[in-house]
Every structure is written in structure tokens, then in C-alpha cells.
């Protein structure tokens, strides 16, 4: 296995653009919601899969692989499109998304396609599972990292904070939680529905080595992710500031796109903006 160090920043940015184009198309074709939530975490997954993690798509069950859990399972299309682009499975399979009988369902199902580490959809599950995987790595003396990508709305769940208290007590320095902080949850501003702020300070107070970054700055994300473990002996939290619907101007920061599905004309307009038309 080898870290994909050879992908340039420009290439990663181009990959992110193509994935965004895919997501808009997938939402339209399958008539599935959560498009804006999927768009906000594209750069995080691109930075992880292309720039930071020790993975080999031809060896998806290698015990020593780094693990990625998309805990915000409603952004499944981002995970599917990223895994396909990274070479985990065929374009044909990706095209089957959301069709009757496809293994690529609206939320990732366990043991479905290669590269899917956990079934998610119900929020607040990824961090405890990732914590378990990190403990397993320590017990079995396997030197892998576990990256859990969560949503800001997901941080409403108590189980997130149960895990957040245990991970530092166990000094799980190879566990990294990335919060896709797009400032919205399903029906409101995430810092108004719950007192989410100060989010980075919350993780720091819980005993994590916490960072804040622009969640669309792939270079910055790569640097932070590559730096795990960061030498502090603590698990790492990255509060990634993102824009919901990022990349498509008429979806950006408009929470209607949590549920809205683009029309054919809107897909074309999005592709035009992304330079894919």
C-alpha cells in the first residue's frame, strides 16, 4: 500500500469538480435528496482519499489499511462517487445508484461495495464505530488510522459526545474526526437549533487535539490529515468550515437543497458552472 502522494493539488481540485458534477446528476437521475449535504463534504473526501490516507483500492480488506467512515450517511453519493473515481469499483456500478436492487442505496449499506467501511444513515454512529476500529488496531498492533467524517447536525447526538469523552481517555491518537461544518442541519441553522459553538473549543475541552480549517481548501485538509497522529497523544478533531451546496452557486447556503432535487435544466446549469458541460 502507498499513500497517494503523487496526485497534485490541481488534479485533486479537478477530481472534486467532476465528483460535484456527478452528485448533481445522481440526485436528478435517482430523484434522491441531500444533494447540498453531499456537495459540502466533497473536498474533505478528496483530500482523504487522494492526498492523505494509506489505502489501496485493489486491497479493500487489507487489515493495515486506513479506514474512512462516512458517518453522515445521507451524503452517500459523495462517498460512492469518490470511491468509484478512486478505483474501488466500476462506473457501471455507480450508475446503478438508487435503482431497484442496486447495492448502492440512499444510505451506505454494510459490506455492500468495496471501500465502504460501515453502514451509516442514522447519525451519531460513525464515531463510536471508528473508535472501536482504532482500539482494535491498538490491540492487534496494526498501525492504521481511522478517519470519521461527521456532519454538524450529527453533533446533536449524545453518542458523539460519549465517544468524544472516551477517545482521549484511551489516547487514541490515530483516530481523526472531521466535522463537515456547513452551518445547516435539516431544518435550521446548526448553531441555532443547538448551541453547537464553540465547536473547536468543545473538542479541545473534551481532550482532543482540535484544528479549524477551510473545508474546501484541499491543500490545507491534506496537510492536517497527513499529520495524524500529530504527536500530542490525543485523537484529532478537524472542524472543517464548509458551505452547504458548495460548487453550485444557486445551491450554496440555501438549505432548501437539503431536500430539493434538481431538474434537468438545473443539472445542465450546474455542469456549466463546474466547467463540465
Amino acid at each position: 500500500m502507498s499513500v497517494a502522494l503523487d496526485t497534485s493539488l490541481e488534479e485533486m481540485q479537478a477530481i472534486a469538480r467532476r465528483i460535484r458534477g456527478r452528485l448533481v446528476q445522481m440526485s436528478h437521475r435517482a430523484q434522491t435528496p441531500h444533494l447540498a449535504s453531499s456537495l459540502s463534504c466533497v473536498d474533505i473526501l478528496v483530500a482523504a482519499y487522494w492526498g492523505a490516507l494509506d489505502i489501496d483500492p485493489s486491497q479493500p480488506h487489507d487489515p493495515l489499511r486506513d479506514r474512512v467512515i462516512l458517518s453522515k450517511g445521507h451524503a452517500a453519493t459523495t462517498l460512492y462517487a469518490a470511491l468509484q473515481a478512486r478505483g474501488y469499483f466500476s462506473e457501471e456500478l455507480l450508475d446503478s445508484y438508487g435503482t431497484h436492487g442496486s447495492i448502492l442505496a440512499e444510505h451506505p449499506s454494510p459490506n455492500s461495495a468495496p471501500g465502504i467501511e460501515a453502514g451509516t444513515g442514522s447519525l451519531g454512529h460513525g464515531l463510536p464505530i471508528g473508535l472501536g476500529m482504532a482500539v482494535a488496531g491498538r490491540i492487534q498492533k496494526q498501525d492504521y488510522r481511522v478517519c470519521v467524517v461527521m456532519s454538524d447536525g450529527e453533533c446533536n447526538e449524545g453518542s458523539v459526545w460519549e465517544a468524544a469523552m472516551l477517545a482521549p481517555a484511551q489516547k487514541l491518537e490515530k483516530l481523526v474526526a472531521v466535522v463537515d461544518y456547513n452551518k445547516w442541519q435539516a431544518t435550521g441553522r446548526s448553531n441555532e437549533v443547538m448551541a453547537l459553538e464553540p465547536l473547536k473549543d468543545k473538542f479541545t475541552a473534551f481532550g482532543w487535539s482540535a484544528y479549524e480549517t477551510d473545508g474546501h481548501d484541499i491543500a490545507g485538509l491534506v496537510e492536517l490529515l497527513r499529520n495524524v497522529p500529530d504527536g500530542s497523544g490525543k485523537p484529532v478533531a478537524i472542524v472543517a468550515h464548509t458551505v452547504k451546496g458548495k460548487g453550485v452557486s444557486y445551491m450554496e447556503d440555501d438549505n432548501n437543497w437539503h431536500y430539493r432535487i434538481p431538474t434537468e435544466a438545473e443539472v445542465a446549469a450546474a455542469h456549466q458552472e463546474l466547467g463540465l458541460a
Binding site: 460501515a118 453502514g119 442514522s122 464515531l127 476500529m133 491498538r138 465517544a163 472516551l166
Partner: protein, 318 residues
Amino acid sequence: MRNAFAAEITALCQEDPRLVLLSGDIGNRLFDKFRAQAPERFMNCGVAEANMMGLAAGLAMSGLRPITYTITPFTTTRCFEQIRVDVCYHDVPVIIVGTGAGLSYAGLGPTHHSCEDIALLRSLPGMTVLCPADSFELRGLLRAAMKHDGPVYMRIGKKGEATVHADVPNVTIGKGLVVEQGSGICLLSTGNMLPEVIAAAAELKAHGLAPQVVSMHTVKPLDTELLESAFAEFDVVATIEEHSLIGGLGGAVAEWLVDQDSLPRAKLVRFGCGDEFIHESMEQEHARERFGLTAHNIAAKCREQYQTRRRGLRLGAA
């Protein structure tokens, strides 16, 4: 039972390097030997059962065999969502052990009672539900559970319960254990009710009857082969459990029964907890009395049903 559990997992952890014990901040000193032997495979997960269950699933997904341990309602109803999604949906071999099941902790009040756990957990796809009758059955079932490649839930008692078996019996998951052979009345006991059921059998014997006693240590998968012969050969089949009448062993047997094509010979009689919380302070013995879970009541009801059944058969014959 919990001391037997601690002893058995301490032995098992030497035999199986995959075994990991997770405690929800209980069992003070109970696991000292385990911790001395395998400190890296013991973790106190704190009073945070949802996280403990997800963590266990993560361990199991990575090739380990976690056992979660805490007081029954906290490792079942409290984190049911995590059992459903992380453990059962992923179909991973996590063994969930609930101590103080049923009315074992009656004195601690309804927050610590657990009379819904069998109903809930047996509704989950892929889940195996085990209710050992005593510390010997517990040891045998724990070993069987470690060999089982899927989620297992085991509800156990507290400490100092009477034992029924003289040694570890030969147990198979999904197969009822006949403790006493008999005819006419078949008593299907699950979990810690067995000593009381044996006492009920003794009372029936004093009335000239010869009841069969079975330890139904597995509620799911249900031993349908045993049920088929029991309902064909006996006049009364009784289920006895320290669990709600809604959805427990009796519920499972009743569900199975209505799906049968042929009319059963036996009448089903169910003994279990009523549909209520116990608001007053009382110990296990009195909580059982409240719900008729006593040897005398079980014997009397079964005898009455048996006599009614026999009278009906005689009238039918005439």
C-alpha cells in the same frame, strides 16, 4: 451467575486472543483477574452504553470478539438503536451480556428491572437470545456464543442464585435442555426461573403427576422441533419467565403456535410479568409473588389446566 461469568471469560481470554471485555462501569473488582491477564483487552467504557455498543461493533468489524457487560436495561433498552444498527445491521459477532436480568434487581426499582429485553432483542434480525438458568448453563452457553458467528444477547442473573445442574451441561444454542423427563404437563422455563419451576414440578409430583421440565435457554432461535413434539404429546405446555408476558418466551411460543397447520393437543399456559411497573419497594421474591411466578402458583394453575384438559378429552371420548 456474574461470578461464573467473570471466571469463564477469564479462562476464555487465555484461549482466544480475540476476546475483548467492555464494561459499562460496573463489576467493581469482578474482573480483576481478567484485567491482570489481559489488560489491553479490558476497557471500562464508562456510563456511556450507546458508545460502548458502537465501539464493540467496531472491534468486531476488525476481527475481534467483544463482550459488553453491564446491568441489563442499560445494555439493551438504553442502547437499542446501536444494537440494531451497529451490531445487527452489520451482522457482527458481539456478545451482549446483561446482568441482573428480569427482576433480579427488584429492590433497585423499575429503572433496574428488565422485563422487555427478550421481546426487543429477539425482534432484531440475526440476533440470538440466550437465557441461562444457572451458572453452569451460563458457562456452557458463553462458550457456545464465542463460537457463534453473529450477534448474541445473553441475559444473566446477579450472584448467589441456586444452581440446578451439577456441572456444565452439554448445551447447544437453539436446543432446549430436558432437565426432567415426564408426561402430561411440560414446563418450559427460561433463565433464572428454573429452580422455581423445579419446585413447581415437585409439587405436581406430590399430586401424582409427572411433569417434564425443560430449560429453554435459547429463546431465539426457538427450538421448534421440541415445541412440535411438546404440543403433540403433552396436555399442558407452560412457559415460565421473569419477563413480560408481552413478547418473551411465552409470546414467542404463542406466535409459533398460531402458525401451525394442525390443532395442538396441548393447551398453552404462560407465566410472566404483568404489564406494569412496580412502584413500591420490594425484593425479587415478592416481585415474583406479585406476578404469580411462584412454584405453588405455577403448579396449581398447571394442575387445574391439566384436569380441565383431561376432563374435556374424556367427555369428548364419551
